[in-house]
Amino acid sequence: MAMNYNAKDEVDGGPPCAPGGTAKNRRPDNTAFKQQRLPAWQPILTAGTVLPTFFIIGLIFIPIGIGIFVTSNNIREIEIDYTGTDPASPCNKCLSPNVTPCICTINFTLEQSFEGNVFMYYGLSNFYQNHRRYVKSRDDSQLNGDPSALLNPSKECEPYRRNEDKPIAPCGAIANSMFNDTLDLFLVGNESDPTPIPLKKKGIAWWTDKNVKFRNPPGADIPLEERFKGTTKPVNWVKPVYLLDPDEDNSGFINEDFIVWMRTAALPTFRKLYRLIERKNDLHPTLPAGRYYLNITYNSEKRVNSFHTLATLWESFLHGEFCSSQRCSKIKTSIPTQLYTARSQHTEQYVLTTVEKADCACAKPEGSSGSGVWIFVPGVQFSRLVGSNGAKMLRSVLALRQIAQRTISTASRRQFENKVPEKQKLFQEDNGIPVHLKGGVADALLYRTTMILTVAGTAYAIYQLAVASFPKKQG
């Protein structure tokens, strides 16, 4: 049990155990690192350190908070809603227009003149630019001017990749859903002669976006149209990308409105810079007080269709994963101040904003901005949509199946037509079949398989539980 050993003698005295191991000193080095005695600072949380810290943080943060609050209250903005859901609104006629494009006019009055730079924004609420599938749907090498990507866009852009057997430039759902309302601002001076306010359309996108990230296909001396030869415009656009602006420096992929739209927003309610109203060099205010009117070319019909097309398409391709881009357009014009540094000349900053809260047809007819809760059960969402329209038809199950097949085959041939009415007919039919089986034989099959698997799995789990509860005695 006890041994007589000299404490200093730690030579490995036994038979050599390591291959080729002679009796060597296995004592570890007596360095600070190996003996864990490195010089160190050992802070202790005492009352003397913690309480002053709390107070100092409070003392620093309170003035910063007050400063930020005061400066942000100095921003003035005007929001104008031009959605047109309210029947009294001038833009109500544009929700279901007789003639496209529909132009509506909104009058408003500025109580005080705006000085300094005025920024005009459009805003959308309930538009999920941050949806995962939407965010992926772009081709950055095409947008960077890569000629091979121009003619062969990436697979991420599906289903907006090719149209009429030509590649789409720019491809993807983000580009396809570009905001294309136009807004013009007029000052009502004398009754007969409204002066248009000059709206500057360049200088609204990030410098790095405009000059580095987005580039037109190469060919400095070739006209722009030639450079985009072999491609076609996105499905929902009126003009192709090279005709977005007569100025070549703002057309094609480097069109600033396009760039601003392609920078997807983080939240479903967002605003994007539309135009700049630069301040004048003389002493006149940028926007004097008075009456103004806003001319809006309201392209909502196309947009609504495009959503439902989007929704339907994505429904068929992604099994109901994406359901709503309900566009509720807002237009805001605003100027933020220099938020954190005081600037003496621009003591007053004004914001002119127009806001539209659209009636979003998808989930909640009341027009409140919905969250995406209903995405999980596409059937439910569809039935609500259907329920609100309520067309009833009597057909047999066989005919239903035929219609379903026809709908699907039609979809494969004509990919970009609006399939929503067909789907509505299919799922609204009053034949007593529950909605989870209304889609056809596939639904029933899937349901049965799922049920069998669930029941079998549960039974097996219970059986295993029973086996595990009675362990065999170890012999």
Binding site: Q42, V135, W207, S324, S334, P336
Partner: protein, 532 residues
Amino acid sequence: MVYEEIEKDLMLLGATAIDDKLQDGVPETIITLNKAKIKIWVLTGDKQETAVNIAYACNIFEDEMDGMFIVEGKDDETVRRELRSAREKMKPESLLESDPVNSYLTTNPRMPFKIPEEMPNGNYGLIINGYSLAHALEGNLELELLRTACMCKGVICCRMTPLQKAQVVELVKRYKKAVTLAIGDGANDVSMIKAAHIGVGISGQEGMQAMLNSDYAFSQFRYLQRLLLVHGRWSYNRMCKFLSYFFYKNFAFTLVHFWYAFYSGFSAQTVYDTWFITFYNLVYTSLPVLGLSLFDQDVNETWSLRFPELYEPGQCNLYFNKKEFVKCLMHGIYSSLVLFFIPMGTVYNSVRNDGKEISDYQSFSVIVQTSLLCVVTMQIALETTYWTMISHIFTWGSLGFYFCILFLLYSDGLCLMFPNIFQFLGVARNTLNLPQMWLSIVLSVVLCMLPVIGYQFLKPLFWPVSVDKIIDRIHHCMRHPLPHPIRTKLKHASSRRSAYAFSHKQGFGALITSGKTMRAKMPKKNSFPFKK
């Protein structure tokens, strides 16, 4: 007799003795380990007298003990009687029907069940020899043996075979909620070393067998106190800090997506850049954690050895259990809420000074990423109590490295080479020069850290555990150093006993070891290997 005729008129020429001394520092080690609430049992193959004397010599048994029980029965009944009478003396209530442990045992609980601690009314010692042990280790007596032995301050089992040593260790392992450590040096200790939770081998002249079969090996018994009280304790602290921090940082990282889902149409869109997700656990937060787990010390080794009571959290599993995990989870949830909603509030409907966009997905992503990294870095800075130069380099260096990688990944060159993989061109430049972003990062950090600092400061103040009081004392001593290191005077048992034992026939041995013939200074006694 024949030998009486032969062995006559012999002249005594000399005597031989074998002096098998104890190693240095053994008694002090045992005292220290007892202070750390570690029970010490001696399992040996030696004779009873040797074992008892060694036990007195190294403070397993003390002179002031209230009683000593010797179990040397030759059959089941005697052994049972002896064990029960011992228990009756130590804790009379434990023999009654109403005793909770007894009533629990009469319900015939299913295996595995654990016997709780029972407190005796004094310090007692138990001696049991191998023959009686063979009876006691049978099925119906083993619980009696265990309960009696665990109530004693020290237990000596002598004349044990290696198999019995292993059986005793396994008995304790099976029925007690305790961690067992077996330390030995010879080939006969190998079975107990392998049976225990931790096996320690002492390398020595008896060969390499014990060392080769053990988890830890060193050359002297006294290093055991360093192994347990310094390295074992540090290892437990480091492991618990590492685990709780690791869970926290991953909860804070992941749960942000949960909140974002409400705003992204539940489409599983990630808040962060994919490259950040790849590098987060791999590069940005791995080195500080490594530094924490390798170098952190709550008190240094001198203090650890001086205050063995600091060992208690490890024994009670105080620093990482289900409750701590839930606290970690709650902290992670709270942090993720702050980390998502503060940047969201900053970015919601807001623009830059020149009117251009800030509320886009990529800027938001960068803001949240940077806030997250700052918060978790500050959290590990708070948890590190031992700041070596390496810790500084790892912690602040990782944060700086993050910014370097950020600029690299979002630079023109890389993004233009692979536009579809590196999509965040220009975001770093456009976002990191905004005062909004830095203010929101500061706000997030402050909101996440202040509650933690407050809790860490207030809890030992108002609801201290015993360890907190000791650490308080240590901090006090560190600031006002003691004039001399206090060494407890070891009371050697030499007043009444010596470490020497006789191995000759029974009669003399009992006489001499009873201490009745001892004087202060003893002449060396020899061992008489005579047998009559």
